[in-house]
């Protein structure tokens, strides 16, 4: 300790310094979420314990369990969310893997298509699916034209169509969550596995897959929890059997005006989400989200029974896929050392391209629809005209809404990054008492149905005069975006080697300099993803906007919603097409800038 003589290095840091060091990064996020989520939502949920006249009562809960319908709906909700999660992860994985492994230009091109579909409003995508899957829609008509079927086919209004719609909405989120983790995997490990005698199947399942598991679990958890709160997709694409709990909550709020019962249903959803969360934590380890790798690693090989089972499953899967591949090889005579292997790359590309087509199709189908001369969103478009574009550009409301959405999204994303990033550092790296609890709080905006947050915020804003203001909307959207920011940043921090920081300190950099010159540039990819998540969360957000704008101002999704529920004209398609072009241009511009920078 050569610094012993100097005043700063001599003593132990004071308790105050220790305290601020530990909690300083977390304080903003805790303050923000306690004030804007827990307090208002708690107040709202307490309504469910009020009977007539405001006295304590369990009436709402008696009703909840008197009829089996609510538990039934909850089960339906969990089932649909489960299948959605499974489908999403399976579909996202190959694309994420391709993006993580490909060199620059190709990778950017893939990323472009993923982001493009991510940016399209979920509302538009839902309408896109209706155009595609409708009895007289694109797919049905195409199949009839090709004489594969001889009459209209029913593709809509079933559990599969709901799962397709929800999966479609979730895949980009899942891909963008997985990519940073996969990028951290050393490609040499797979090569080593092969030289040690592992066939591609075994190497994938025993080496690559376990290493990508943190990304998979983070993606799955996000998707599952987000899926629980869906209401528009099941309403538009589902049959009477696919009723999800949030639909009932909204029905109670909007049609029966029964806040107490809506609160009880929300609590049911919340409890279900927490139970899933806990089971998930026990089985896979929430540490897969927190960036500490100890448990994740143990789960792979240590004495943990879950880990052992996981290993066995992976080994089994590896064996099965090996047999499958060699069977395929044998069938196509693709064996022997003498001729070049028709490597699996072709197949992999086919799969990736098929998934990209799936992602972009619902938005693309709106392009021809937008040029219809008719007044309905349907297939095929009736004639050609630009009337809907003219309508759009003539309307100041649409332009104002678009501008406002951009401003709010930028503001909300920036705020969420400022609050969420330090919190992610703290949760990922510091030893904190009650870390799981803190994490649960951070994730709460995802778990609590948006409708509940929206109304709770509206109550709260009305008291402090934030209704209808930019600030109110930005803050509200930032609340929703924080969990995405925290999870994404934590995921990259997990694969970040802290020795770089130590090296920087050793080279004389202060913590802030280290952060600026070393840490942040190194995790830039993750930060950009986090920012984009936050941006899109806000840009595509409807429920909060419906309430906290007080109806005085409008955002783009709100304007679209207004059109969708009141008239549903092809102006939606025109807006969607312009949005598509706009986003494409912006994304290309960013890519261009990045390549220029590299040169």
């Amino acid at each position: 300790m050569s610094l012993a003589a100097s005043s700063r290095g001599a003593g132990r840091p004071s308790r105050l310094r220790q305290f601020t060091g530990r909690w300083g990064k977390l304080a903003p996020v805790l303050f923000f979420l306690l004030l804007l989520i827990l307090y208002p939502v708690g107040k709202l949920l307490s309504l469910s314990f009020q009977g007539p006249g405001g006295v304590f009562s369990l009436q709402a809960y008696e009703r909840l369990f008197a009829s089996s319908v609510y538990v039934q709906v909850m089960v339906v909700t969990l089932k649909i969310s489960f299948w959605t999660t499974l489908a999403t992860v399976v579909i996202s994985y190959p694309v994420a893997r391709a993006i993580a492994r490909l060199p620059g230009a190709t990778r950017n091109r893939l990323m472009f298509w993923v982001q493009l579909s991510f940016w399209c409003s979920f509302l538009i995508r839902t309408f896109g699916w209706m155009v595609l899957l409708n009895r007289n829609g694109f797919i049905s008509q195409t199949l009839q034209y090709l004489q594969i079927v001889d009459g209209p086919i029913d593709l809509l209004y079933s559990a599969p169509s709901v799962i397709v719609g929800m999966t479609h909405a979730m895949v980009p989120l899942c891909i963008l969550t997985m990519v940073p983790v996969m990028e951290g995997i050393d490609e040499n490990l797979s090569k080593a596995g092969m030289t040690l005698g592992g066939r591609p199947g075994s190497v994938f399942w025993r080496v690559y897959f376990p290493l990508s598991l943190p990304g998979v679990t983070a993606g799955a958890l996000l998707v599952f929890i987000t899926s629980l709160g869906f209401f528009i997709v099941p309403a538009f694409l589902g049959s009477r059997h696919e009723t999800m709990i949030t639909q009932l909550i909204i029905e109670q709020v909007q049609e029966y005006l029964n806040w107490g019962f809506a609160g009880a249903l929300s609590l049911l959803l919340l409890v279900a989400a927490l139970v899933i969360f806990t089971i998930y934590d026990r089985l896979l380890g929430i540490s897969t989200l927190t960036g500490s790798s100890d448990r994740g690693v143990k789960a792979g090989a240590g004495p943990g029974w879950a880990g052992l089972i996981g290993l066995k499953i992976c080994a089994g899967l590896g064996h099965v896929s090996d047999m499958l591949f060699s069977a395929i090889d044998r069938i196509f005579g693709n064996r022997g050392a003498g001729k070049p292997r028709r490597s699996g790359a072709g197949l992999e590309w086919a799969v990736v391209l098929a998934i990209l087509a799936f992602l972009i199709l619902p938005a693309l189908i709106m392009v021809p629809v937008s040029f219809t001369a008719g007044s309905r969103i349907n297939w095929p478009p009736e004639g050609f005209s630009l009337r809907w574009y003219q309508g759009l550009l003539d309307s100041p409301v649409w332009l104002q809404a678009a501008t406002r959405s951009v401003i709010v999204a930028l503001g909300a994303a920036t705020l969420a990054m400022l609050i969420g990033t330090p919190a992610a550092f703290a949760i990922a790296r510091q030893k904190l008492p009650g870390r799981t609890l803190i994490l649960a709080l951070v994730l709460s905006p995802l778990i609590i149905p948006r409708m509940v947050i929206a109304v709770a915020l509206f109550y709260f804003y009305a008291q402090i005069g934030l209704v209808g203001s930019y600030a109110g909307l930005i803050v509200g959207h930032a609340v929703l975006a924080i969990p995405y920011v925290v999870i994404t940043v934590m995921a990259v921090l997990k694969s970040y080697d802290t020795r770089y920081d130590q090296a920087a300190w050793n080279l004389g950099a202060r913590p802030t300099q280290t952060l600026r010159f070393i840490t942040l540039p190194l995790i830039k990819g993750g930060l950009i993803s986090a920012f984009l998540f936050a941006l899109i969360t806000s840009f595509d957000e409807l429920t909060i906007a419906l309430f906290v704008t007080g109806g005085l101002t409008t955002t783009l999704p709100k304007q679209m919603w207004d059109d969708a529920i009141n008239v549903a004209t092809p102006i939606l398609a025109a807006a969607s097409t312009l949005l598509l072009v706009f986003v494409a241009v912006i994304t290309l511009l960013i890519h261009r800038l990045q390549t220029k920078e590299q040169k």
Binding site: E251, R376, Q390, S395, G550, G551
Partner: protein, 357 residues
């Protein structure tokens, strides 16, 4: 959204109408003309809001100089109104197009609304008592007739019995995923007379619904969805609020309405507690209740006037899509919000369970 040329013309005609209204109007609002005031009025979204803007808000501003700011919100903004009044934030001064059920809820839950005290005004007296109470006055009527595709039926369905008769009227159907109106329809289909509908015979209604259940291709949650379904040919018949199919038919969709035993409800004006513009609100309400002004809405969207004098300003052809047309009133019924307020929870549980089974 709309053709510019057309809207420019309609705007000019409306302004002419407005000044005429101002001349004929009592002096109560001409005095306020000098003041630069504005009123924030909760307004529904979509074409109805557009129509109200053109028929009510712009002429009122032209006549008085008072600006009307529409604040759009979801269907039943009860919670918003409560929050606005409780927090004294005065975000809204008054509400338009509020359902009877919402008014009832607000009155039941506390002190959120003000008595308008306009019962003795001449223009209010023109409006049948059934459309008003001391807190709210109806300014529009919406209704649920049966919408069907004209191109799919040689012999068009006339009523709910036909709607339930899958043999005589083959085709795919959709219904609303909500017991309100759906149960009434089921009872009509089972032969119940209009006067005997309330209180609802639930067992009979659900039994009747059982018959149609296998033939319902989809249960809609938003009216536009219902219109999408029927215009895309996904279904051939659907009960839905009349203003939506009417607008679609104006755009060329082959849709027609069967009005027998239509079920209707009232859209009302009400003034929120705590407004500083109570007098202006009253002034605005009186302005809008005039038959000619209501006709202005009815000409644009199929929301029917509550003031019978409005039909003087509406062509007979247009009157065929308006629920307060005397011909439709005979067999129609108003939704009994009192019954629903008392029973909706139990019925909703039963309905949701029935749907899932």
């Amino acid at each position: 959204m709309s053709d510019t040329r057309k809207s420019a013309i309609s705007r000019r005609t409306l302004l002419i109408g407005a000044s005429a209204g101002a001349v004929a109007a009592p002096s109560i609002w001409t005095s306020a003309r000098a003041q630069t005031k504005r009123l924030i009025v909760r307004t529904p979204g979509g074409p109805t809001a557009e129509a109200m803007k053109k028929a009510y808000y712009e002429p009122f501003q032209a006549a008085t100089g008072i600006e009307i700011v529409p604040a759009t919100s979801n269907n039943e903004p009860v919670s918003q109104i409560k929050a606005i009044v409780e927090s004294k934030s005065k975000t809204w001064d008054m509400a338009a197009s509020l359902s009877r059920a919402s008014i009832r809820q607000l009155l039941k839950d506390g002190d959120f609304l003000m008595k308008h005290g306009l019962d003795n005004e001449a223009v209010v007296k023109e409006i049948p008592v059934g459309f008003r109470n001391e807190y709210a006055i109806g300014h529009g009527v919406y209704a649920t007739p049966l919408t069907y595709r004209k191109d799919k039926f040689k012999e068009p369905p006339k009523n709910w019995k036909d709607f339930f008769d899958v043999k005589a009227f083959p085709g795919r159907r959709a219904m609303r995923k909500n017991p309100v109106e759906t149960l009434e329809i089921a009872l009509f289909a089972d032969g119940v007379a209009p006067k005997d509908i309330y209180p609802l015979d639930l067992d009979r209604a659900f039994k009747s619904l059982d018959r149609i259940k296998p033939h319902v291709a989809h249960w809609w949650t938003s009216p536009v969805q219902a219109i999408q379904l029927i215009t895309n040919g996904e279904v051939d018949m659907v009960p839905v609020w009349s203003n939506f199919p009417t607008a679609a038919a104006e755009q060329g969709a082959p849709l027609s309405l069967a009005w027998e035993n239509n079920i209707w409800g009232t859209d009302m004006f009400t003034i929120l507690k705590g407004t500083e513009n109570f007098e202006t609100c009253r002034q605005f309400i009186l302005f809008c209740l005039q038959g000619e002004r209501q006709a202005g809405v009815g000409r644009q969207v199929a929301i029917a006037p509550t003031n019978p004098n409005a039909f003087k300003f509406i062509t007979p052809e247009r009157a065929t899509v308006l629920a307060t047309n005397p011909a439709y009133q005979a067999t129609g019924i108003e939704i009994n919000d009192e019954f629903w307020a008392a029973n909706r929870d139990a019925i909703a549980d039963r309905f949701n369970k029935w749907l899932l089974s």
